[in-house]
């Protein structure tokens, strides 16, 4: 009898605690714009040009007990590129750059997540941009996680990576200082 009581208490505790350590799924909060895909590229080598993609969505799962099981998927509508200049954005959407009529979407699908002791991590995955799929590594740092003031739970990361334009068949010559574009990603996920 005593044994059964103890075991049922243990089971109850286990059932209560288990969800806390299990992988949680998160929807990236693009609806309220707490996620950003920004890029910067050198202009002539003299300054940084900044821009972003305004329209994307995605989700990720993160398992505190087993971070390596984490996954991320993001889809970007390439036509939403915004560098704060309509004529330039028109050019960026055109054939010289993203060719958004032909390639309306860019996607990232993770293939691995390797977390260090300090919780920084490398997120590996396949990025498809302008119809070209390539493996990329994103340096990731956790920003924070916990309950939000409205009854939900959130978790956020930031990440950076660098892409070579010609890797994705973007051949328009912007000069020797502008062959690579840096991405800065800031995502906040709402636990589902």
């Amino acid at each position: 009898m005593k044994y059964r009581l103890l075991s049922s208490i243990a089971l109850t505790i286990a059932m209560t605690v288990a969800p806390l350590v299990q992988a949680a799924d998160y929807l990236i909060d693009t609806e309220k714009a707490h996620a950003f895909i920004q890029f910067r590229i050198k202009h002539l080598g003299y300054s940084w040009l900044l821009g972003r993609f305004n329209d994307f969505d995605g989700s990720f799962s993160y398992d505190e007990a087993d971070p390596s099981a984490s996954t991320v998927e993001v889809t970007i509508r390439t036509a939403s590129i915004d560098s704060n200049h309509a004529e330039r954005d028109k050019h960026l959407r055109g054939k010289d750059f993203l060719d958004v009529d032909k390639f309306p979407q860019a996607t990232f699908v993770s293939t691995g997540f390797s977390e260090n002791d300090d919780k920084s991590a490398v997120l590996s995955g396949n990025l498809t941009l302008r119809g070209v799929t390539r493996a990329v590594n994103i340096a990731v740092k956790p920003v924070g996680h916990g309950p939000d003031p409205w009854g939900g739970k959130r978790r956020g990361f930031e990440g950076t990576t660098t892409l070579k334009l010609t890797d994705y068949n973007i051949d328009f010559d912007l000069g020797p200082a502008a062959r690579e574009v840096e991405l800065f990603l800031s995502v906040e996920g709402i636990e589902q």
């Binding site: 704060n84 200049h85 309509a86 004529e87 954005d89 028109k90 959407r93 328009f172 010559d173």
Partner: protein
Amino acid sequence: MIWRDTQERYGLISIGLHWLIAVAVTGLFVLGLWMVGLGYYHPWYQRAPDIHRSVGVLLFAPMLVHLAWRYWNPRPQTLGSVTERKAAAWMHRLMYALMYLLLLSGYLISTADGRGINVFGLFSVPASISGLHNQADTAGEVHEWLAFTLIALVVLHVLAALKHHLVNRDQTLKRMLSSRC
């Protein structure tokens, strides 16, 4: 000096405006076609579009004067058969419409994000309609199609003038070259 138009001939104002607009439209077309293919480091990469936009804005003035002058002057009789005269009238209306729409669509590209158009550093035309969905891209595509259509009509217009001159041997072309014809 014959400034005003009569029922037989064009005056100097009409002839001047016609050729001014003809040169500007042809020039804008060639410049526009050339500038969109320039590489980023080409010395004209910034200057060519600046000139294209500035000339486009300035062209608005002679185009309005041309239309007004046409309205307040007698119109020289179109020569040719009834069908030819009808076709010519519609051709001219279509060319006017395309030219005005070209100016409008070009303006909408450059002002899509609320920036004005700087005209040769002299003055700036403010944006009025901006932020429409996909404004720069849509206006750009329309601008390109209108331009090619207008130039096709210009070619027909020139061929028609040559036909009048060489086949019909009438005054159509000559009276656009001299107010004494």
